[in-house]
Symmetry: none
Subunit: 130 residues, 4 copies
DNA sequence: GTGGTCTAGACCACA
DNA sequence: GTGGTCTAGACCACG
């Protein structure tokens, strides 16, 4: 289901956030779909329920999923990107960092753009959200 | 000199590594140039010397700079991009993550590629190292 | 009829209590009026009957409505505001919390008072119950 | 220091968030001040460190406090209210609820406004943030 | 059944 | 020293 690397240095809960967002992006999870319950996912991934909980809450803060009390957690029907200057700044910073790394690995402009396009295709990024 | 954000969630030593690599990339630091001493930089940036030290060690490990005992620390003359599958894997992972974020911020394919090209130009990334 | 938001973080049964009290306040429900039966309301709002039941019990506890066995549930004819130090304490606590939030949203004294007066007018709060 | 009621039904971490915001509002905590460390506050309030942590992280998300890695947590120097339609909606909802309660406790328009003004004075709410 | 909160205790990275 | 993450296990409110 979701691909978690226990040995990775990036926190498990962040990995899960990322995995779920990707799953939604590529359509494996559709708007309105029910996510596995905290306990269920925890036992399947052999991860502590609190950790799953943290991921779900983070996704809820980002308005990607929503919880209906007593019923479970669901992919939002109406996700819409909101202008967020802070996040945009962070995005650029991350991208800078990544591009510098790419350069030091010997990739030139064209190979980088090619890689970006390839990854976008894998992820299913097309013409925006709206 | 170097742009450090104490509040950022990315560790200071990593920010500094990043800043130095960028300075080399855009030519502000040339191969063979001497870097400021640990103490000097620490006092100028009002950062703990141990933190500067950690950055220099990391850059040395990456063969970007080298220390000549008693003389100081210098930008390597002969940086060679090496094939590094592990780093390549990390790079792709970071890029995936960044692209997913970009999508959720509402950017479409074209705007992302545009942003990538713009940042590469700012950084001075051209036709590769070799 | 009643406005329930399944996604809200406040429990459904509490939302319903609130809605019914508001309906009485603005006169949509008059003293002596019959409330819909639990089953009826449950099916109309697509909410679990237990939840409706809980709301009615809470309102009965507060002496806002009363149940006549075999006949149904009715808005009390003779609601009397009672001095209740515990509830008064809670009220102040809630108000404090709300006012702090308002401040952190950038509202100043005058805008807050204006908002309070506006809401009271909408709700139909005038010169007290007695 | 901070007033926490272990028996209250509102979560401890939320109470603490509220208490800290009030302390800043009335000037007991000034912009730039260091907050007690997680462990310190935990032992003083005899509350689990994780709970304190949760409060601090919530406040950080709200840009009320910020953490400097390895140094501690500090009241933000530059808090500024941001337009947030979602929060504004919530605020009005809370206020409605509170006003309805006030009415059912027998308070009329004038007594409510008086109470609001009194609480704002106690809290130190004046002419807005800027 | 669901998610939300809390405790106890552990380990880690950062400065 | 600081905060950040994770586990284990418990209890609660809600529907």
């Amino acid at each position: 289901m979701f691909n978690i690397d226990q040995r990775s240095s990036t926190p498990i809960y962040q990995q899960l956030v990322q995995e779920i967002k990707e799953a939604i992006l590529r359509g494996a999870l559709q708007p309105g779909d029910k996510l596995p319950s905290v306990r269920d996912l925890a036992s399947r991934l052999t991860i502590n329920p609190n950790t799953i909980q943290k991921s779900y809450q983070e996704l809820e803060r980002q308005k990607v999923i929503e919880t209906l009390r007593g019923k479970g957690t669901f992919v939002c029907l109406d996700y819409q990107a909101r202008e967020d200057k802070e996040k945009m700044r962070e995005l650029k910073e991350n991208l800078r960092k990544t591009l510098v790394e790419a350069h030091y690995l010997g990739l030139d402009q064209e190979r980088i753009v090619k890689l970006v396009r390839q990854l976008m295709q894998e992820l299913g990024i097309g013409e925006g959200l709206e």
